[in-house]
Subunit: 327 residues, 3 copies
């Protein structure tokens, strides 16, 4: 088998075979080692990746911009104030023209029922890779960094018990892209995945169907529970994180009655004691401290959030190195 | 003849001789070829061009920032929120200090009766080239990219019939810098230029005088018409694009009675049929689709708008390579 | 003695020994010479310095961004609209994560009683150098550039008479960080420093105590006067610049009765005639022309403000080269 990475879009991990993802992880480990040793990795010298952000970001923007610098290229940061999209520039025009100027178009667009369509519309016209930095449906950069972190900490992931757990938060109505990407990915690596959330926070039906398929093929398993304690019990990894009730309610209002009735969905020391002794606490950051999680957990011995954040750099570099420079 | 390009300002193409413009085009073609082949062109390694934008931009900013990256340097993007100009920093201070820090100052300032003066004031004090990214009077980057595109498509431009045609649009009151720069430039290359617009959208008298002079010296011709059909008839190139009624009305209001009475000035399939069979449709983008032009024209077989946009990259790189690095 | 510069924070010059500052100046002179000659100085190839700005800046941002480019690295510009600090990201998270991604964190945070604490909190957690770009208490980048400029103009600085003089301005309530950093630094180089200001604009008591100590050890002297003419008389260097009444009044309101009563504290030609014949007029820029200083002084023969501004580049590069790359 020969795989061509150059020009490959990175919008959903389901478009990448397991073998391709393994290569991506291999490259991530290699880049991490070289970065630690200060070995130059100018694989993309003088190449430009456009960084289009329709929403704010810290980790994603900085991992991409520092990452492309370490690869010898440049990240052209564009926020909504510096894009003419608002002035009627259509996705086609943006994609064709930026394709002519540079070497990849990375984009975050989380608007519900718009983001993923926008990325796919760009992919239709672009002659360079479209790299998702999160849309309304997927966050492949986060999921692959999570997977790398779990591999580093647990080694073989087969039969590892991973719980993706809804958590209470009030900062903003967050996309469902993180739990969707994790649910779709983790069973492919043989993990036993539990998705836990209170009534009203369902993921779309097609996600559940696809996840079950992925579990069957990958040797993992997938189940849903509405019992929080059940999700913590004996878990090797817990990922308690808020997401919005987009499937049933498309309003962007953050706090509503439904949300307020689930304040108890917080990651506490007490919950953590139900889990495996070596359980990993993970979070994409920034966490809503006090709501999603107690300080003593996120700052405690089970937390791997900073290692997880660091892996955002290495995996982002691997995505760029392969799709912008691969053969 | 020996020309020194290093340090030469790029504010109006009329300050560049035809021989100098020919060199600029030669360099553009060479950079385009090398970019297509992936040959490194680090002519400006570690050099900084400041990119001062008083107004938004997509094509201009991205062509400059990706372009300087491909030349091995860096574009220091400054928008009005990151400049202290609003806090009383005078053009002299900005020009002297940025001159000391970097290698060129590129600037877009389209405010009526301010922009061009601001650029010239900076040029008076700067020890590095001032590169216009559009002012109230000129848009040399656009005009030179247009010229390159016409050369690529038509070969010899002598006696080519080019029509610069006013078009209806409602997005914002656009500068007259594009039609002025084109009117001044195209006759220098021997083209027969028609400027067509409805009453009230005149360009300044001095532009007309200078354009006639340029036509005389360049072997081209220049005429004005207020009959749209006349401008399309037998044209080899049409450039239907909106501009504001700045000469007679300096208000920044977009839509007024005068504008509304000229909705018929739209580039339609019917108009295009009056032109030469191989007529080129050009536009600086973004177009006001449905107002300036029908979708079927801008997306149709005569349209060269994406090639034209791409040439913004190559010509911008040539301007920088010559003025920031030339001998 | 062996000094390790790599990883050293740059928050207050008092944390750097005089020998370390001398090395910093040596490196500044060397980088200035190489820049003038166009000799490459890629000491920080592909390294990232994060540039976090909670407040606007022209000189600081551009000197850092052009400077890191000249050193072969990249400045990752972050303003408050692109940081999630407002969304509850704590200094610890920012410091740890940016440390993992890049090679230094430079930050401007001038909020009263917050800025310096924020920098020190980051320094506690960061594994890379924290570089102050001005806080509520210190502006080490400005003070070291001022010192370099005085050395270039005056040679030996021992017994040079330097007057730091409060001046009237209405643009915004400025931090006291510039006079504090200058008062603490200049006596260490044997200068005779006069601090002049009208009642109500005192610097904190601990600054005065520490400055007297620094004067004793450095061989210089330090005195305070409320008589403006006295400060100008026979001075070799005058630094008339506004600062706010933070110590006695923490409101951010710019203009109040106290301020209005001191309009006479302006640097005029008449004042300059009291000083030494070769007196240097210095200012960090941007000056509040007409209020802080007469145009004829800042544009006149004694003014060295542009050379001073240029030295911001060379000293900033030296700080980065030493702390991000030093052995």
């Amino acid at each position: 088998m020969r795989t061509v990475f150059r020009g490959k879009h990175f919008i959903s991990l389901d478009d990448w075979t397991k073998e391709e993802l393994d290569t991506l992880l291999d490259v991530s480990y290699d880049l991490k080692r070289k970065f630690a040793m200060g070995i130059p990795t100018r694989y993309l010298q003088d190449k430009t990746v456009f960084l289009m952000f329709f929403e704010q970001s810290t980790r994603t923007r900085n991992s991409m911009e520092a990452g492309i610098t370490q690869l010898g290229g440049h990240g052209n940061y564009l926020d909504s104030s510096t894009m003419q999209v608002a002035h009627g520039e259509v996705a086609k025009d943006t994609a064709v023209i930026l394709s002519r100027f540079g070497h990849a178009i990375a984009c975050r667009n989380c608007f519900w029922e718009i983001g993923n369509k926008y990325l796919n519309e760009m992919a239709k016209w672009s002659t360079v890779p479209i790299i998702s930095l999160q849309c309304d449906l997927y966050h492949p950069m986060q999921a692959i960094a999570d997977l790398m972190t779990m591999q580093e900490k647990l080694g073989n992931l087969e039969r590892a018990k991973v719980s993706i757990i809804w958590a209470y938060a009030t900062t903003h109505k967050k996309p469902i892209s993180v739990p969707i990407s994790q649910a779709l990915l983790f069973p492919r690596y043989g993990m036993d995945v539990t998705l836990a959330y209170p009534e009203g926070y369902d993921l779309p039906d097609w996600v559940i169907g696809k996840t079950e398929e992925n579990a069957k093929r990958g040797g993992g398993s997938f189940r849903i529970t509405h019992d929080m304690e059940d999700a913590y019990r004996n878990a090797d990894v817990v990922y308690p994180k808020n997401w919005g009730s987009w499937v049933t309610n498309q309003s962007t209002e953050v706090v509503d009655e439904l949300l307020q009735s689930y304040k108890v969905w917080k990651c506490t020391e007490k919950m953590m004691q139900l889990a495996s002794k070596k359980v990993l606490y993970m979070h994409a950051l920034p966490a809503d401290r006090g709501n999603e999680v107690e300080d003593s957990v996120i700052d405690g011995p089970h937390s791997v959030v900073y290692d997880e954040a660091e892996n955002r750099l290495h995996t982002a570099k691997a995505v760029m190195a392969l799709t912008m420079g691969g053969r």
